[in-house]
Symmetry: C2
Subunit: 495 residues, 2 copies
Amino acid sequence: MALSYRSLGIDTSYEHVIYMHAECHVCHSEGFAAQTRLEVRANGRSLIATLSIINGDLLRQDQVGLSLAAEHSLGLQTGDAVYVTHVPVLASEGLLRAKIFGQRLDRPAMQAIIADAVSGHLSELHLSAFVTACAGDRLDIDEIVALTEAMVAVGERLDWPYDVVVDKHCVGGLPGNRTTPIVVAIATACGLVMPKTSSRAITSPAGTADTMEVLTNVDLDIAAMRRVVSQTGGCLAWGGAMLLSPADDILIRVERPLDLDSDGQLIASILSKKIAAGSNRLLIDLPVGPSAKVRSVEAAERLAARLVTVGKVLGLPVHPVITDGMQPVGRGIGPALEARDVLQVLRNEPQAPADLRERAILLAGRLLEIGGRTTDGRRLAREVLTDGRAWRQFQVICEAQGGLREVPAPVLVHVVTAEQCGHVAGIDNRTLARIAKLAGAPRSAVAGLDMHVHVGERVEVGQPLFSIHAQAPGELRYAQAFLATQVLPIRLEER
Amino acid sequence: MALSYRSLGIDTSYEHVIYMHAECHVCHSEGFAAQTRLEVRANGRSLIATLSIINGDLLRQDQVGLSLAAEHSLGLQTGDAVYVTHVPVLASEGLLRAKIFGQRLDRPAMQAIIADAVSGHLSELHLSAFVTACAGDRLDIDEIVALTEAMVAVGERLDWPYDVVVDKHCVGGLPGNRTTPIVVAIATACGLVMPKTSSRAITSPAGTADTMEVLTNVDLDIAAMRRVVSQTGGCLAWGGAMLLSPADDILIRVERPLDLDSDGQLIASILSKKIAAGSNRLLIDLPVGPSAKVRSVEAAERLAARLVTVGKVLGLPVHPVITDGMQPVGRGIGPALEARDVLQVLRNEPQAPADLRERAILLAGRLLEIGGRTTDGRRLAREVLTDGRAWRQFQVICEAQGGLREVPAPVLVHVVTAEQCGHVAGIDNRTLARIAKLAGAPRSAVAGLDMHVHVGERVEVGQPLFSIHAQAPGELRYAQAFLATQVLPIRLEER
């Protein structure tokens, strides 16, 4: 029986909530209680939502409300007819339980789970159990292949009318390591095709999409992306808007609050996006350091080997590059601060961070070799960056995406100074990333950290070590309060 | 800065939701967004809630609302002052992540996680990850001991002025196996002290507390329980109201939708409740069958050995009894239908299910031996049941708890009949339990299944196999729809 829609204007982000009156006849006849998961149909579409029961006069007994995202997804307006039923029993729940108890998931099992995740039939609780059951080396190679295929299968898949389409990816864990915009500018300035889609941050203070969004529009649909790539040879777009591996975005939503990003899921996440994006040569940057995501060269080699193996099974040649991940790259950590560093490098400004510049040249050089443009990639990359071609190409890409924007000025800044003198002996990437996130990154573009020292430098008492940037006073206080409970993430030692 | 409370009357069950206006100055200055988890303080109390953002006029900009359970928990009324801040960073999140990645959790780690679970600081996502990371044999004996201790530590702990306090528990998985009310009546009629606290269903269609709630008030506080036990020697109460191992209730809330109940968590769940309830002799019934929770005698012996070991470390002698779990016990599955069977046995009615009666005599007999009342427990148990002493004692206990109630009459009944003839070769407990739950058990007391056949019986075409009982038409349809997709859970074979 139909209920009548009423817009309540309640924003619950991605979570779908349905509001029904305590005396609603459908609730009674169907036996619905608060927190029941329900299937909601309207306008020929459907979704799954969790029930909140209204006592009082926010709704009439024959009315139903939805949270904003669900309302938009079903295209509802006040007065529209809505049908509400129980969620059907899912085979994927049994498969998930089998995985939790240590059984392997085969290809149809992975497909069932990922399909139900994308349709919203599996709850956040189930997804949390899924990513946990797959973490800590509990996916073997066949399962990673099956997961990757399943993630590709539920999304769009691009194909390009070019023989060579290159892509790069960094496994992350290194704050400020924002080489991608520079690499895309260099590679495409040299004639490579590089339709770069990036994700937003998973557990870091900024993803490439968050940083690029400071500088231009990254929310391209597939048609817009094709246009930009045919005009410029490249793009720097957010992948989420394109429904390339939408399962990845859904799993990330659960992994982020758990601060969880395991090998198997990492490989499936990276490769599903790249396969869906249609690239056929993939460079992967694996920074190694005691507080980077990959902590030892052995772990990096193991991850690299698995990436190559899974890539080979799925027809995508993967070229891993293991790099130094001892300390943050550049000076900025957070969307706007990293965008500032990127522009300084592209513009060859004297204060441009040398480490970011050198990493970008290294990676772009390797890509130029993989893409068959030269046998001495670093030389060519350095030349193109130094003579301004990369900067001009970057502007061309941003203009094609909707225009190059200025980096916003800092709002609230708190400078952390040295209370003793000494040499910088170590920098804790994880604690720095945590502070940057507590300060509001990546949600607030201007939030993050500005680093004032590097490993090996001499520091005097009172000298600035890093600054915390925030948009809101509450977030600045929150980051400061956390810092006060921690060992200083810049380790100073007397020599 | 304080906001002003406004009651919105929104019931979200146990989940705490806070509602704030999109233009609220606190949201802006603190950087809160929808789905942010917040600490809410009022009237000297605090809790954690998830933010929903209100666009429109349900709230003014300086007002804040809470879901009903949170409103009650803080004792709020419209106009009261409410303070909202970020949730502090939790050490337990890092410990949980370590467990996910395969590290062991020691005693302080378990205590930190369980304390944050009980305080509501860990979200449902985190709890789902925790129970998943502990499932499938991923807790060793030391971790199970640490988890059990941590669960005892966060709750109340009863002590009794009696030398011998007995208790029993069934690991479950066998629908209709409702021996506890009968066992308590027999044991206490023979002078044993048995202050029985029971849980509600985790993954089954009814727990003992659900069934007993049909017959009497089970929602006793500790003072009421002490009074009932001192008057009668026993009680049949719901443990959840007493804050004995409240962590168990919180973990169960996550395990239920995941349909997950693993060995380590099962042992900690059982033993934490029993230690907190102050018993010093524990009988554990382990039914074994291909579709019971424990599927083989080997698995039962392994679980029994671990229960004994963990019990010994924690000072509680455990006596396991492995029983036949081939098919449901009695006829009813679901709170009211099981209560009916229990009363038939206690009243020695001719139609009383013999299997339920014999199991109760077996278990009560063993308890009488463990408790030192006799060396031939089964003989004494049978005598006390047959001569009506157990039934009189049961009435005395129910009267002390607030009065014995009638079993409610069925509401909606759908009879499933045989479409072929044959002998009943097997019964699938899991599918039956699933159907009973889809029909509304245990939430609707009258919902469940009434079994009309047992293994080995001859069945003719058209003969009733079982009936589905429901309170609401939607739930009956839902159970029927599921049954239609399944192999019939009563397997008929020609001999």
